[in-house]
């Protein structure tokens, strides 16, 4: 196409120059206008207008469009017939295509694309318009959701700024899907460009007409969306069309603070300072504006240091994030929190404004964080704080019923305007009794003192420590493996035990002794241990035994000793390592109890503190 234009242009210039010479006037070649393109307004009247081609969109039914000579508007010779496929049609999932030219047309003298249309049933055409040229699509305009009835009716698509359409190749395009799974047919006829005096009052908007204000930093980029054009139609009602950014001229009030490019992408380049981004179409100012309050250089959140192996990440550039339903659920009706997330030097940052509460949800799938120990997040409070600010975090586990735990962090006044790293241990989230089906993290401002915050690096991690031991064992002690022939047992379900042992002798101790069953396995429980004895029915000869075996479990004991006692009494204690992580099994050499007379052992004793669970107390040979 380009060479053609050049050739034509050159020809024109040559011809004009020649004419100028002939006429003997003093016209300068630089006065010549650019090569002009045909102004033919017709797209499809009773057939394709000159030069028009059709191409179906990828994924659409290629044969959806045909020329119909029977069903036409006003008994004309032909119309355009579009058959929208049923759901699951193997040929394609929708009907859609482009009517385009190889060489452009000058449409700047018109202000609307018009056509007549009807459908086999009342239907909605997903999107229909102009400016799709199978290339840059620079000047795309469309009406989304055009309702068509079973009678012929004229439709008007206003042109946001015809002066831009001096060499437009995309004359018409459409895309239509099925209605509740069912296909339908629609017809379009008399497609042409017109200069209508019956459409009026164009209004343009960026950001859907809102005046937005954002705190920002050097390096932040933001795309301005919500670009619409509204015309008042001959019926007095407004029709909105979506318009490509190329129709809008974006303006920065101070390019030293932020620049904006032709596509409406704003980049903050300086600061501190404020900048207002506005737009106009031709001479008409667009409604809506973006005010960026640049604070200057952005301080990125600290780079996380946890091993990716021990991390389940919700939002961080440092890790691979799990699928997240949303970072802001806009929970109606009470949530006021808005999102104005931004990207600084490639790093996305969540930015919550008008904060009261906001939820992040991840249910596809939910997270099993049983092996994790903490929630981590970095927050930055951009506004100065009043005393008494508190940041609340709630984590929700889905189930029957849902369970959740809350955590409150006081934020001192001097912590504002800097990153605060928060690590929430699951064990501090009272109420979150399980975390195998985590689905939501909710941030709240119960102090009503935090108007907004940035967040980054939200993830669960394991800090390397084994998970803490529950107060009570969830499973019984491990089943002993020593050969019964080598064992003399005092307390165990696995061996025959010495009969007649008194596990509850009254030695004036404070300890409360009970025998409990864990999954059917008998276990001794010492609650509030100070000391506790075990009296054998008679003196036992353990002289040929090599070890005393014990299984013990305690989440809270900080001191624990086990003693063997022989007549005298002669007793010697052995230090047990507490607290335990789950059940702890020890085989203590009998020699450790010297000078106890191993040939005449009469008692055992435990000394220390805390709540202790005991099982499989026996002596054995190697």
């Amino acid at each position: 196409m380009k060479p053609n234009i050049l050739i034509r242009f050159t020809q024109l210039i040559t011809a004009a120059a020649f004419l100028a010479l002939l006429a003997g006037c003093e016209r300068d070649i630089t006065d010549l206008e650019e090569a002009s393109f045909p102004t033919n307004p017709e797209v499809f009247i009773d057939g394709f207008s000159a030069g028009l081609n059709y191409a179906a969109f990828g994924g659409s039914v290629p044969t959806a469009f045909s020329v119909d000579n029977d069903v036409t508007y006003d008994n004309s010779a032909a119309s355009m017939r579009i058959e929208v496929p049923d759901a699951n049609d193997p040929r394609g999932s929708f009907a859609g295509g482009v009517y385009y030219l190889d060489t452009g047309r000058d449409l700047s003298g018109y202000n609307a694309l018009t056509f007549w249309a009807k459908a086999s049933q009342s239907a909605t055409i997903g999107e229909i318009g102009l400016g799709n040229d199978l290339g840059q699509n620079e000047f795309v305009v469309s009406i989304q959701g055009l309702n068509v009835s079973t009678g012929w009716k004229k439709y008007i698509i206003p042109l946001p700024d015809p002066s831009r359409l001096t060499q437009e190749r995309g004359l018409f395009w459409y895309a239509a899907g099925n209605l509740d799974g069912n296909g339908f047919t629609f017809w379009i006829d008399e497609v042409k460009y017109e200069k209508l005096g019956t459409i009026a009052h164009p209004e343009y908007a960026i950001l859907n007409g809102e005046d937005q204000v954002e705190t920002s930093f050097i390096g932040v980029t933001k795309s301005i969306g919500g670009l619409t054009t509204t015309f008042n139609m001959p019926t007095g009602i407004n029709q909105a069309v979506s318009a490509a950014p190329a129709y809008f001229e974006f303006v920065s009030s101070d390019p030293s603070i932020a620049t904006v490019d032709a596509s409406g992408t704003v980049t903050v380049t300086g600061g501190p300072g404020n900048v207002e981004i506005t737009a106009h179409v031709g001479e008409v100012a667009a409604e809506g504006s973006l005010t960026m309050q640049s604070l200057g250089d952005f301080e990125q959140a600290p780079v996380p240091t946890h091993d990716p192996e021990n991390v389940i990440s919700i939002f961080s550039e440092a890790y691979e994030n799990i699928p997240v339903d949303y970072y802001n659920g806009y929970w109606e009706p009470y949530q006021t929190t808005q999102s104005a997330d931004f990207i600084v030097e490639g790093n996305r940052v969540l930015n919550y404004t008008d904060f009261n509460f906001v939820g992040i949800q991840f249910t596809s799938p939910t997270i099993d964080a049983s092996s994790m120990t903490h929630l981590h997040l970095d927050i930055y409070l951009p506004n100065p704080l009043n005393a008494g600010a508190e940041f609340n975090i709630e984590i929700v586990n889905f189930g029957e019923p849902n369970v959740s735990g809350s955590y409150t962090i006081p934020i001192p006044v001097d912590q504002a305007q800097q990153w605060i790293s928060i690590d929430v241990p699951f064990e501090d989230l009272g109420g979150l009794t399980s975390r195998d089906n985590l689905a939501q993290i909710i941030f709240l401002d119960e102090s009503e003192n935090i108007p907004g915050f940035y967040a980054d690096n939200i993830y669960f991690y394991n800090d390397g420590a084994e998970p803490p031991t529950p107060d009570e064992p969830e499973s019984p002690a491990p089943t002993p493996t020593h050969d019964a022939a080598n064992v003399t047992a005092i307390y165990s379900d696995s061996y025959d035990v010495i009969p007649g042992t008194n596990f509850f002798p009254d030695w004036g101790q404070a300890t409360v002794v009970t025998e409990i069953q864990i999954q059917g396995n008998n276990t001794l429980r010492y609650q509030g241990l100070n000391y506790q004895g075990i009296e054998l029915a008679s003196s036992q000869d353990f002289a040929d035994m090599d070890y005393l075996h014990l299984d013990f479990y305690t989440a809270n004991s900080t001191e624990l000793y086990v003693y063997l006692i022989s007549e005298g009494p002669v007793e010697t204690g052995y230090t047990l390592s507490v607290p335990t992580t789950g059940w702890s099994s020890v085989d203590i050499p009998m020699s450790a109890f010297a000078p106890v007379d191993l040939g005449g052992v009469i008692q055992l004793k435990f000394d220390g503190n805390g709540d202790i669970f005991l099982d499989n107390i026996y002596v054995h040979k190697e």
């Binding site: 005096g197 009052h201 007095g236 009602i237």
Partner: protein, 277 residues
């Protein structure tokens, strides 16, 4: 006194010219040759006040509130004298603004009742209409004796009415005993490929003891003679002027969710002339 000359019409002439124009497709203003009349300006308001100023109280009074039964037409708006509903724009215009607040609407209606009225002459206004379904702007006259004889015995001359859902059509009508409300003597005038809210147009009547002529941009589109009405001719007494923007009502229907608000009628001037005989 300012005086202007406007041609008096000659129907035969018009018809011939019309045929001629239809044949060559020329602009209508080139052919409608009316018999010359001389007018003296006797009353006018150019609305040259400061922005936000209310209409000149020596020329205009207000109708306020919702009237009885929505001013007899089931209209939805409540009329106010707040500057946001009626004030100068500082650029030589009076702006009457219809404002939506949820399901309620405010607007304004001003009148010269008790301040100025005239029998016969030329009454004209240059204005831009509001638009949108349910908007009902009007430039009209009522007989001075409405307080004593009531409506429609007093007579009503609607120089311009428009339904916002048809922003390219205006209606000129008279209401009198036996031909009022839904049954006036009326005619419409439509713009081709244009609309009355897109630019200013001049709406006028020229009224004497025999007839009332209705004009848009000095084009005569309707003549009502005193023998044309199916009842009594009640137009031989002084009438006063009204300007208003109604919302909803029997004439226009309700505004819809698609009606754009606020809506403005922008009035450049109102002028009244008497004929110099």
């Amino acid at each position: 006194m300012k005086s202007i000359n406007i041609a008096k019409n000659n129907f035969l002439y018009v018809v011939i010219l019309l045929l001629w124009v239809m044949a060559i497709g020329c602009d209508r203003d080139d052919f409608q040759k009316l018999e010359e009349r001389e007018w003296n300006l006797v009353w006018s308001d150019e609305f040259d006040g400061e922005a936000g100023e209310l209409p000149d109280p020596t020329r205009w009074a207000f109708d306020l509130g919702t009237g009885e039964g929505g001013w007899g037409n089931a209209e939805l708006q409540s009329y106010t004298n707040n500057p946001e509903n009626v004030s100068m724009d500082g650029e030589g215009n009076l702006v009457i603004t219809a404002i939506q607040d949820g399901n309620t609407f405010t607007s304004a209606r001003i009148k010269t009742q008790g301040l100025f009225s005239q029998q016969y002459g030329r009454f004209e206004a240059r204005l831009k209409t509001p638009y949108g379904p349910g908007l009902w702007p009007a430039f009209w006259l009522l007989g001075d004796n409405i307080e004593t004889v009531g409506w429609p015995q007093c007579g009503e001359i609607d120089i311009m009415e428009l339904r916002g859902q048809e922003p390219h059509i205006i209606h000129g009508s008279i209401h009198g005993p036996g031909y009022s409300a839904g049954n006036p003597v009326s005619k419409s005038y439509a713009l081709v490929n244009d609309r009355f809210d897109a630019d200013y147009h001049v709406f006028a009547i020229e009224w004497d003891e025999d007839k009332i002529d209705f004009f848009v941009d000095d084009y005569l589109y309707q003549r009502i003679e005193n023998t044309d009405v199916p009842g009594e001719w009640v137009y031989d007494q002084p009438f006063f002027i009204l300007l208003n923007v109604a919302v909803g009502g029997n004439y226009v229907g309700f505004p819809t969710g698609q009606t754009p608000f606020p809506q403005q009628m922008i009035i450049d001037y109102v002028k009244v002339y008497e004929e110099v005989k």
